[in-house]
């Protein structure tokens, strides 16, 4: 049963390679117009968008590329893929259960295999994105400016788990749906982004507490990144708790999805 999911992820991989190829082609076309690397400030935040703000060079060149930037970019790309592949159980429910459930394996195992393949693929996309970003950087002979920042390994785990958590949320929201799974996943991104935005807004104490509570379950709340020295606002105070929370969201989402999917009827 893993083979069917492999065919799906293979298609996703081909799309990734094509997109990377297009980006690479654009990059080489624009290469003659490019200057030397400038000081860049990355913000990965609401809705998973990333923005790069060019700023005049200020510090030493070695500060230009903290390793975590690669992980943040890869986290966004992996989360997008997680959102897409987070509808895999719902897609089975859209007219294919009679085929899926007459395989010689239990429903639980079938669903777990599907989700495991999807998650492995999302992790693979994360790694490929890091490699792609590193390749572009190397092409500019800028890898020597790479700095292994203090939070690098925390950010590696955080952005990988963020994609997994988003996958879990998408599965939990759509596993019992036959149609409109894509719409639900799209709207959920917008809602998560709004909740993240509200956490920074000035709200009455009750609303602020409510938003803060809901954001414990919002993967995007764990996905902010800034190269600035200001302390990032994660839902929990320690690295370990933030990582554990992301892992818990992923596990809870997958468990809820499984419970719903097992109870469906073809």
């Amino acid at each position: 049963m893993y083979y069917k999911e492999w065919l799906r992820v293979r298609r996703g991989l081909i799309i990734f390679v094509i997109m990377a190829g297009v980006l690479l082609a654009i990059h080489f076309l624009l290469l003659p117009l490019m200057d030397q690397p400038s000081n860049t400030h990355f913000v990965i935040g609401a809705g998973g968008q990333s923005a790069a703000h060019a700023a005049p060079p200020q510090g030493p060149a070695k500060d230009l590329f903290p390793l975590s930037v690669f992980f943040a970019i890869a986290g966004v790309v992996a989360a997008i893929y997680a959102g897409i592949y987070g509808g895999s159980l719902s897609e089975e429910n859209d007219g294919h259960l009679a085929l899926a459930w007459t395989k010689p394996v239990s429903r639980t195992r079938y669903a777990l295999v599907i989700m495991s393949v999807d998650l492995a693929f999302v992790a693979c996309i994360f790694v490929l994105t890091v490699l792609f970003a590193a390749g572009i950087t190397a092409q500019h002979e800028a890898l020597r400016f790479l700095r292994i920042d203090r939070d690098a390994w925390f950010n590696l785990a955080r952005f990988l788990l963020l994609a997994a958590a988003w996958f879990g949320v998408a599965q939990a929201l759509t596993a019992s749906l036959k149609e409109r799974s894509g719409t639900v996943r799209g709207v959920s991104v917008a809602i998560a982004a709004i909740l993240l935005g509200l956490s920074a807004a000035s709200l009455p104490p009750v609303w602020s507490a409510l938003v803060k509570f809901v954001n414990f379950f919002n993967p995007l709340a764990y996905g902010t990144y800034s190269d600035a020295q200001a302390q990032p606002l994660y839902p929990f105070a320690t690295w370990g708790l933030n990582l554990a929370a992301l892992a818990a969201i992923a596990a809870l989402g997958v468990t809820l999805a499984l419970a719903q999917w097992r109870r469906l009827e073809a």
Partner: protein
């Protein structure tokens, strides 16, 4: 799967399935003998597909259960049970080749040579994506997947739906061939001629209720048509309406036709008393039996 020889291949016990206040299948019980071809007949909405889904655990029965070879269904039994749903349930974005490969990776008993032969038989182009295939070609692909594992039990819901007459015949031949090899076939069809041609057992469902069940030959022997003509309009026989052996009475001008169970002696006597110009007793075919079972009197 080890199937006990003495147990029926499939046994349905007091199966009921309700959707809200609608009873789709009502207290259904019958057994499908091992090695038989068992046809399930019924009008649209009779509960055939729901029955299949319930026995294969694709839908939860309200009450009752199905046993396979004397055991409740377990997932590993699908290595020996093939199901072809009425809507083939194939993946639009995958090709026929992809589906064959998926099945090959899913079933230990998948027979690639058998699959290749079935693809040839149905003239399938495996390079095409499912979304580009006609309904008949999709059915043919689903049949290929169902038969390619050489299952011990085949459950086929409208297997010839959308197929041309040549391939409809092929499907009948495949079922007969599978049964000859010891497999059990449970299938539904709207085409009574096909059921009569292939099935040795039949059950007739009407609005979720089992109306008739048994060996086709026995049913035919039990069921008779008494046909009589009169000089004027055929008289109305009130006593026939009250006779439990009379399934249905049809009057049309000078002709009266009574569908009866058993010898129909009482009916013959009643009609003879009205002095018909002619009268004959005919064996019923499956279509007559079906219409009598679902049509009322």
């Amino acid at each position: 799967m080890t199937i006990q020889l003495e147990a029926p291949a499939i046994e349905i016990r007091t199966l009921t399935k309700s959707y809200g206040t609608t009873v789709a299948v009502n207290n259904l019980s019958f057994a499908v003998p091992k090695g038989s071809i068992f046809g399930l007949l019924g009008t649209n909405g009779a509960g055939k597909t729901t029955t299949f889904k319930c026995i294969l655990d694709l839908a939860r029965p309200t009450t009752g259960q199905a046993m396979f070879g004397g055991y409740p269904l377990r997932p590993d039994m699908f290595e020996s049970i093939s199901y072809m749903p009425e809507q083939p349930a194939l993946y639009d974005c995958f090709t026929g080749r992809d589906h064959i490969d998926i099945a090959r990776h899913s079933f230990a008993k998948f027979d690639a040579t058998r699959a290749h032969n079935l693809v040839e038989l149905f003239g399938l182009d495996l390079r095409k994506k499912v979304r580009t295939l006609s309904k008949g070609q999709q059915s043919a692909l689903a049949l290929t997947l169902a038969f390619a594992t050489r299952p011990e039990i085949l459950v086929l819901d409208e297997p010839s739906s959308g197929l041309d007459p040549v391939h409809q015949r092929n499907v009948l031949d495949l079922m007969i061939d599978a049964a000859a090899g010891g497999a059990t076939v449970l299938f539904s069809s709207h085409q009574i001629g096909q059921v009569e041609r292939a099935a040795d057992h039949v059950a007739i469902l009407h609005r979720g209720t089992l109306m008739l069940e048994g060996l086709v030959e026995d049913l035919k022997a039990e069921e008779k048509i008494i046909e009589a003509t009169f000089a004027g309009d055929a008289p109305r026989f009130v006593e026939l309406d009250a006779n439990p052996n009379v399934r249905r009475v049809m009057r049309q001008g000078r002709l009266i036709r009574a569908y009866v169970t058993g010898t129909g002696d009482g009916v013959v006597a009643a009609i003879t008393a009205a002095s018909p110009t002619s009268m004959r007793i005919l064996d019923q075919n499956l279509e007559d039996i079906f219409l009598a079972a679902v049509g009322g009197k």
